[in-house]
């Protein structure tokens, strides 16, 4: 199977950048990383479909081997839809997290911190009211 070198390089670059961003603690970068890896993997599936060919619309005069393989494209289409839905959910989640904590970070687990610090009893309960419960903040964004 011969594949386009350009596509392979682009895929590699997308995945590499995606991995780098996913390892960040900032949630916005994590989303960007997820989008890059998602597109990189979609390219991978496209590459796996073999070399480019004619659009797979049946025509008697065309040799079957000259068509492009339509199945990977159908798979990519499904994957794109799923990525779209998941990334919109992720954005909503991150927005909510930012409204609650005013930070764009992956927060530490309170129980983990308690265990690490060796205190047997669990941390005190959060009694701070949720600041981000309203859609119309009284205070401007900090």
């Amino acid at each position: 199977m011969t594949v386009s070198l350009v596509l392979v390089v682009v895929m590699g670059a997308l995945v590499a950048c995606g991995v780098y961003l996913l390892l960040e603690r900032s949630l916005t970068r994590v989303v960007l990383g997820f989008l890059l890896i998602g597109n990189g993997v979609n390219l991978l599936i496209l590459i796996m479909g073999g070399p480019a060919g004619f659009a797979p619309i049946y025509d008697e005069t065309i040799d079957p081997a000259a068509y492009n393989d339509p199945l990977p494209q159908a798979l990519i289409l499904t994957a794109i839809v799923i990525t779209l839905a998941v990334s919109s959910f992720l954005l909503a989640l991150i927005y909510r997290s930012w409204r609650l904590a005013n930070a764009d970070d992956v927060a530490d687990d309170a129980d983990d911190v308690a265990l690490r610090e060796g205190s047997v009893t669990m941390p005190l309960e959060e009694v701070a009211p949720d600041e981000g419960d309203t859609d119309f903040p009284v205070e401007a964004t900090r």
Partner: protein
Amino acid sequence: MMATLVPLVVLVPLLAAALTLVLGRRARPQRIVAALALTTVLGISVALLIGVDTGGTVVVEAANWGLLGIVLVVDRLSALMLVVSSLVLLAVLVFSIGQGLADGDDETPVSIYYPTYLILTTGVMVAFIAGDLFNLYVGFEILLVASYVLITLGGTRSRIRAGITYVIVSLLSSILFLAAIGMVYGALGTVNLAQVAERVQELPLDVQILLHVMLLVAFGIKAAVFPLSFWLPDSYPSAPAPVTAAFAGLLTKIGVYAIIRLETVIFPTPELNPALMVVALLTMVVGALGAVAQADIKRILSFTLVSHIGYMILGVALGTVAGTAAAIYYIVHHIVVQTTLFLAAGLVEREAGSTSITRIGGLLASAPLVAVLFFLPALNLGGIPPFSGFIGKLGLFQATAVQGDALAYALIGGGALVSLLTLYALVRVWNLVFWRPADDVEGDETRLLRSVEEAPDAPVTTETRTTPRLMTLSTAGMVVVGLALTIFAGPLYAVADRAAGDLDGPAAYIAVVLGTEGELPPASAGEGPP
């Protein structure tokens, strides 16, 4: 007849999800639709199990597209999983209906809970009957997206924090799975499980191992196998009690189910089995040690969940029919028992207002029924002899002993040790939460309580919450199911044995999926032209 039933296990919950979404803010019809849909799914699953067990595997090619399209395969393993998961989903639904009724859902309904729960059901069903890798991926995505919504339900700070970890880790595993599917397609030109199984032996060994490891890592994250299990105890405990119960029972087991399919149908080769056995041992031990160190019931249970995944992986890693059969029985046992324990933890939370074992006590006196409902599945999970946990572990150890090398005996020793550690962790919960008199509880002081004490003029009101009968009833129902696993262990183990017999190498699976076109009458698989 059987072939028409197969798509229904997916369609019924999906249509019911749409209906409950339309019913939006009217809680009562939503509840009725959801409960009816899940009861129907349970009925269909039981019919499928009986049909498949007597009549053999059912293969449905959706819309007569043949192997190019979506192929649904229900063999004994799938059917058994369908029955157990729909039973558990129904019990958890009843539990959450009870909780919702008591908390005044009628006035302020969470309108998305029931639709999302039904979509989760759809995803679970799709994953169990998928006959090709991509459909399995779609099933995973359906249930994962639903689980993202359920785990962050309400959007409080702790749930959002836990949800973010969960979502990102799940996304990573999905992407790995998708990349693996792409590579499988590139190597073999198909994603149909039977065709993959047929062709994979022609690949060079290194390519086989590469594909094998990629799929194994993707499924391993979902199943929470040791080095990939870090996310689970972080994210599960903060979700609402019924959601955690459903997740703990089902979601990880779907990963284990996928691993069983992978190890028996696609790669029945022994190259990775020793590695899997080591991973199984580590999963068991690390999970159990984590459980011992925790001070919150839900977190203890989450760690025991991780630890007991190790037993199932051990059964799969043996690569024998006896091992697979024991793993299948253990999955059934563990789905039921782990869900029951989380439901019981939900009852404890309801009674005591907390799940921290350092802060509650005396529940045996104040809520004896909850104590019984916790005690029985706890003994069961710990593997005390008459219960199904013991039968499952015994089956696993027997199958392991057949292998007879040092690693096998290390695993048996580790398994027995972990069983004791599980028992220790759960007995610790029992002693502190139930047995200890309420007066002995120390350090029962929160910032809120202190602020009340510092303001002695503030009026103190006492609020009592009753535990709705429906919650207790569904938990009791699950405890009874757990006991039934012991009483009917003979027939159940026999079914597991036959299911494992189907999975003895890919030959049977390939024959039934690829060879059916001539044999099966095309009666109901979609009569019209495509």
